[in-house]
């Protein structure tokens, strides 16, 4: 059931991210198998599924934090496990954990991330990103004092503040439950930030149970794909 892509498409139709026959195994269990989809410039996908289906795991596999059990992930036709560097330059991952250092101020946290992903670290650039999630007036508060939703918003400021350093793509955002604990206005802000990113040709994959609207996003139902499990097994032990 491998799908190959006809290489005679118009360049902006060509899939940037091509996921082939992906399976993930955790704690000795196959969570999903035979997952097969691809996204090209400006497209988005929503990972859906009940609690424990494997949405977070899917995003971790895509990010390269967990090796896939079977299958592969192509970025610009390169396997992301063989050549991770181009991919990482374009990849921005926001997991369940916000990754805040609670003893640093909001802007100090953001500044470190920016430096880590070799993005501009001037206060101006950073406050722009904070403004995009509505935290600009808390910039100098210790992260310890942030409320649940405020922490989440700071985490979401990271991809906004660190544009892809990979010349020929706007990059890929992997967002795990981005809108958890966010209030309506914040959700709206995030949605517009995502839209703006897709405008520039960025690709977004988000997992969510909370309300989040990504116009024209294809839906990946994680729980559905466990069906052809034997398939994955024999593939692994062939």
């Amino acid at each position: 059931m491998r799908r190959r892509w006809p290489r005679n498409l118009a360049p902006d139709q060509m899939p940037i991210l091509d996921v082939q026959y992906l399976a993930c195994r955790r704690g000795g269990r196959i969570l999903f198998a035979g997952l097969d989809f691809s996204l090209s410039k400006g497209e988005a996908a929503l990972a859906l599924g009940h609690n424990g289906a494997g949405k977070s795991s899917l995003l971790r596999v895509l990010a390269g934090l967990i090796p896939p059990f079977t299958g592969r992930i192509l970025w610009n036709d390169e396997d992301t496990r063989q050549e991770p560097y181009d991919f990482r330059a374009a990849l921005r991952y926001v997991g369940h954990a916000d990754g805040l250092q609670t003893n640093l101020t909001v802007i100090q946290n953001l500044r470190y991330w920016a430096a880590l992903y070799s993005a501009p670290t001037e206060r101006l650039a950073l406050t722009d990103a904070l403004a995009a999630v509505g935290l600009d007036d808390l910039a100098d508060l210790p992260a310890r004092m942030l409320s649940a939703g405020q922490r989440r918003r700071l985490a979401l400021a990271r991809p906004i503040a660190t544009p892809s350093t990979n010349a020929h793509t706007a990059g890929l955002w992997l967002l795990d439950e981005p809108t958890v604990a966010l209030d309506r206005p914040s959700i709206a802000r995030i949605e517009s930030a995502i839209a703006e990113f897709r405008e520039r040709g960025g690709i977004v994959i988000a997992s969510t149970n909370a309300p989040l609207t990504l116009p024209g996003a294809q839906e990946i139902d994680v729980s559905a794909t466990v069906l052809d499990l034997e398939d994955a097994f024999e593939d692994a032990y062939a």
Binding site: A63, G64, L65, I66, P67, Y85, R88, A89, L91, Y93, G95, H96, A97, D98, G99, L100, Q101, T102, N103, L104, Q108, Y112, W113, A115, L116, Y117, S118, R158, T165
Partner: protein
């Protein structure tokens, strides 16, 4: 390379923000050594004999104490994932963290050493040797410890593993370090020991960050 400097700056900044926390090691170092006169009894002669060994042992234990926090915190709050997914190699980040760790724990110990030498009345001939060995040897403790700290990330039994894994690897450093001081006190030439210490430190600095980074990647799977 930006990742290196950024991480170094960040960890030092955190250390400053956390104030004392980073000085935990050195305070443990001094207070711990102060206990020995109380436990063993105040005879100066006996203390003088033990001094070099006690100081070096306390340096080991103190380093160990701070080490298991080296990656655990970053791992729990998810920062480690960000580091691993950054374009620059994780090895650089790890090296930076080791260096920062040494700057906030190892270096203060070197500076505090004279106090300890005084408290435990180490014979004057031993003082230069003590400072030299600590200065040369303590970085090795941070680097070697980093491997163990990386290995136990996410483990159920963090602390115990840390001790069990690291102490055996520390013993050569301890032997040469304390040995050099003893030799100096005995009036022998300690340069051999110092050379050995330097070799250990260099090897550790070269290999450990790489190994630790490898271990961390495993940890996040």
């Amino acid at each position: 390379m930006t990742a290196f400097w950024a991480t170094l700056a960040r960890d030092l900044l955190i250390a400053r923000r956390e104030g004392g926390e980073s000085l935990l090691a050195v305070i443990f170092f001094v207070l711990g050594a102060m206990l020995f006169p109380l436990g063993v009894g105040p005879e100066g002669s006996l203390l003088a004999l033990m001094a070099a060994g006690v100081i070096w042992v306390m340096a080991l234990l103190a380093t160990l104490l701070a080490l298991d926090r080296l990656f655990q915190a970053d791992w729990r709050d998810g920062t480690l994932e960000l580091m691993a997914l950054a374009p620059d190699s994780l090895t650089l980040v790890v090296a930076a963290k080791c260096l920062a760790h040494w700057l906030v724990t190892g270096l203060p110990m070197v500076i505090a050493a004279p106090i300890m030498a005084l408290l435990l009345n180490l014979p004057p001939e031993g003082w230069p040797a003590l400072l030299a060995t600590l200065l040369i040897g303590s970085p090795a403790l941070s680097f070697i410890g980093a491997i163990c700290a990386a290995l136990i990330v996410g483990a159920r039994r963090g602390g115990v593993l840390m001790t069990l894994l690291a102490l055996p690897l520390y013993i050569p450093t301890l032997i040469f370090g304390a040995g050099a001081v003893q030799a100096a006190i005995g009036g022998f030439d300690a340069s051999g020991h110092l050379a050995a210490l330097a070799a250990i430190t260099l090897a550790a600095a070269a290999l450990c960050p790489w190994a630790a980074a490898a271990a961390l990647r495993q940890a996040m799977e």
